[in-house]
């Protein structure tokens, strides 16, 4: 806390229903991405790399795996004396009934006591299900330079897609004059990334009022930000340039993985000055057999490959047996493509087997197929 007196809270309760079977037993932030990572590794590593020492993770939906995963703060180096990752699911309190988090702002309101125990000057609110690399200390410097009450990170999106986002209309100094949630006719292309820095004292006061407001959705985008604008508070945008992806669907999760295959791609996971940290697994390096043919692929440790792999991302311990073919696909941890099987444009979920000579997916399909159950082959 000493370094910049900013505490981070990661909203990680998202269910991610459009990811179907992938989020049946785990929350969206725990979904695997990029061969060896989980999505929440990105905000956590960003925090560690930005010099933030204390991170609260607000979990709710199917949180067993997520809770145990983030509780091991040392994965991200967040385990020094004054540092830690704290898992914060809803809890029963002396003066209130046990209640789920009713909205993003309510998740923070219910943990005011936790935040107060560190008495931070600034509170950083993050989403646990976005893939990007960002230095939050630069955003804080911007926040201070503007003398802002709140700063919202924004990214330029194509204007025709702007109606899918929360759009910030700002003046030439970057001060926000209007916020529109999913506007039909967007006036600007600056989309909110769901990353906020607040002056903690002010936000605390507003949250206390919000708890008692029966008409509130207890949501930052719907309630807190509009309320601040109505009050004439100074809210500023912080323009982010770089790779940023919200993987809400099977197609976009696949796309985000495929983005890693390009040379000099914008996410650049091999940049040693801003590493993304994750669980340390104890498998050997990957083994490539005498019959393998690997082109345009992103492959991690523990894989065993003796077939053809093209334009694909392979996660820990994935196997592609002799004569099998994997094209334009994502093999999640432990997925197995047996001898002679062919996979096109698909995501094979964790541990799922594609049997001998089976064919899944279609090279000409519009959408990506998610295979989450064993596909039987010739036995």
């Amino acid at each position: 806390m000493k370094q910049n007196n900013m505490l981070a809270m990661i909203l990680a309760g998202g269910r991610g229903t459009r990811l179907h079977e992938l989020t049946k037993k785990v929350a969206k932030p725990a979904v695997s991405y990029g061969g060896k990572y989980r999505i929440i590794d990105f905000p956590l590593s960003n925090c560690a790399n930005s010099g933030i020492d204390v991170v609260g993770v607000l979990t709710q939906y199917e949180s067993i795996l997520l809770n145990s995963y983030v509780a091991a703060g040392r994965r991200w180096g967040l385990d020094a004396k004054d540092s830690g990752v704290y898992v914060l699911p809803p809890r029963e309190k002396a003066d209130a009934n046990l209640d789920v988090y009713r909205g993003t702002a309510d998740a923070i309101s219910q943990n005011i006591d936790f935040i107060d125990s560190y008495s931070p000057d600034y509170l950083l609110i993050l989403s646990g299900d976005h893939i990007y690399k960002m230095d939050y200390s630069e955003m804080l410097a911007h926040h201070k330079a503007c003398g802002a009450d709140a700063t919202i990170a924004v990214i330029e999106v194509p204007l025709k897609e702007a109606s899918r986002f929360g759009i910030m209309n700002a003046n030439e100094t970057g001060r926000i004059v209007e916020f529109e949630e999913k506007p039909k006719e967007p006036k600007s292309n600056l989309a909110s990334m769901g990353i906020y820095i607040f002056d903690w004292k002010l936000l605390r006061k507003m949250l206390m009022a919000d708890i008692k407001n029966p008409d509130s959705n207890h949501d930052f985008g719907k309630d807190i930000i509009p309320e601040m604008l109505r009050d004439g508070r100074s809210l500023y945008t912080y323009k982010f340039q770089g790779y940023w992806k919200d993987v809400g669907t099977i197609d976009s999760l696949w796309e985000a993985n495929m983005d890693l295959l390009d040379k000099n791609n914008a996410l650049d996971l091999s940049d040693n000055s801003w590493k993304i940290y994750t669980e340390d697994v104890t498998t050997p390096p990957h083994y490539i057999g005498p019959n393998a043919d690997i082109k345009r692929a992103f492959i991690t440790q523990g894989c065993i490959l003796d077939g053809e792999v093209k334009n694909s991302v392979l996660f820990t311990n994935a196997k592609v047996m002799t004569g099998a073919k994997v094209y334009d696909s994502v093999l999640m941890p432990g997925a197995v493509v047996e001898e002679g099987a062919v996979v096109h444009r698909a995501i094979i979920a964790d541990g799922v087997k594609i049997g001998k000579n089976a064919v899944v997916g279609d090279p000409n399909s519009e959408h990506i197929e998610l295979i989450s159950k064993r596909v039987k082959g010739d036995e």
Partner: protein, 371 residues
């Protein structure tokens, strides 16, 4: 939990790995791309429930200490357990005195204070999987004073020439520990691994120290073969002895074959190492990779055959790497052809296009070197 503590011993004066060992002790050598040799004995110990491990270092401690750290990555209980790094300073100036007995004498206080009745001593320069807890039970059940681990080989004429051999009688009693002179092909190679009571170990160390300042643990145990009940236990599975340059190359290359690797790696017997947080490896359109082991963090645009690629290597387009062990961080430039080489860490092969050694005599490129 095993009722023993562990000692990881350093290589003696009979062992020298040309080139690589000038930079670091054998335990700190990169192995199979992502490991260091010492990861294997330490993981064997922690997997066997040994929580108190002493690692002895004879020279060049930097890379080993950096790699071992607090030992947390080896799954050692951070309160009950201990990874104790013991660097011997005496005898630094005269190598003849710089042996394991001198190191044990120097650190006798640390040995005496350990509260386990048995000790398991394993070398930092050999790679194998072994359940020391079951070895300890075998030792206790047999009633022997000392149990030694060995591996039967049929190529002792041309390999294992810096190793010792066990001369066994029919009851697996050890008659002698002798140097391998390479005069017979079938030999029982001593894996420099001992099990005995802590008290006996201390007694033998003190005895050796009195007999000769140049004595090693193997010397004094060999002397005792007539007096004590010393038995051999055969090890099966993969065995890599890194005792000269050729054996370092061979121990790595043998594991390119995934069937051989299955004799070393087992899901239920994880080999721990320090994570480097490297990203997965990226393969491009021009890559041609066959029969190889590749670590994370690499960029591969060229051809790799029958080779081991360490973490964070770059193989540029048109480069051809065959029958080679490429250590972490190395770069193989455009159209460079490397065959039958060990390329040490962070070396950059850019300008010289043909780097080829004759079969049976692997070549060596120095650490951080630019060619």
């Amino acid at each position: 939990m095993a009722n023993a503590f562990g000692i990881i011993n350093f290589s003696g004066r009979n062992i020298w790995v040309e080139g690589m060992q000038s930079y670091r002790p054998i335990g700190a050598f990169s192995f199979l791309g992502r490991y260091r040799v010492i990861d294997f004995p330490i993981s064997n110990m922690t997997n066997s429930g040994i929580d108190h491990i002493q690692v002895y270092i004879r020279r060049k401690p930097r890379s080993l200490i950096e790699h071992l750290g607090t030992g947390r990555h080896y799954n050692i209980n951070s309160k009950r357990g201990k990874l104790h790094i013991l660097f011997s300073e005496n005898g630094m100036d005269r190598d003849i005195y710089n042996n394991d007995i001198a190191a044990f004498i120097e650190n006798m206080g640390c040995i005496e204070r350990v509260n386990y009745p048995y000790v398991i001593i394993a070398p930092s320069y050999m790679v194998y999987s072994m359940d020391y807890d079951s070895l300890l039970r075998t030792h206790i059940d047999s009633g022997a004073d000392i149990t030694l681990l060995y591996h039967s080989v049929d190529n002792a004429r041309e390999a294992y020439l810096s190793c010792n051999i066990l001369e066994l009688n029919r009851q697996k009693g050890v008659n002698a520990i002798l140097p391998n002179h390479g005069n017979a092909k079938n030999r029982n190679i001593f894996m420099d691994t001992y099990v005995m009571k802590k008290e006996l170990f201390i007694e033998l160390v003190n005895k050796a120290h009195k007999l000769s300042s140049a004595y090693s643990l193997a010397d004094v145990v060999s002397d005792e073969c007539g007096e004590l009940d010393i038995r051999g236990v055969a090890h099966r599975g993969y065995f890599g002895s890194i005792t000269d340059f050729e054996s370092y190359y061979a121990a790595n290359m043998a594991l390119v074959d995934s069937k051989t690797a299955m004799n070393l790696f087992d899901e239920n017997w994880p080999i721990y190492t320090r994570t480097n947080d490297s990203s997965p490896t990226q393969y491009f359109e021009t890559s041609e990779v066959k029969n190889s082991v590749v670590s994370n963090g690499c960029i591969i645009e060229g051809t790799v055959e029958n080779s081991i690629i360490g973490r964070g290597c770059t193989i540029h387009s048109g480069a051809v790497v065959k029958n080679s062990v490429i250590l972490p961080g190395a770069e193989i430039g455009k159209n460079v052809h490397v065959d039958n080489y060990v390329v040490d860490k962070n070396a950059r092969l850019i300008r010289t296009k043909e780097i080829v050694a004759e079969t049976g005599h692997p070549g060596y490129i120095r650490r951080d070197d630019v060619l």
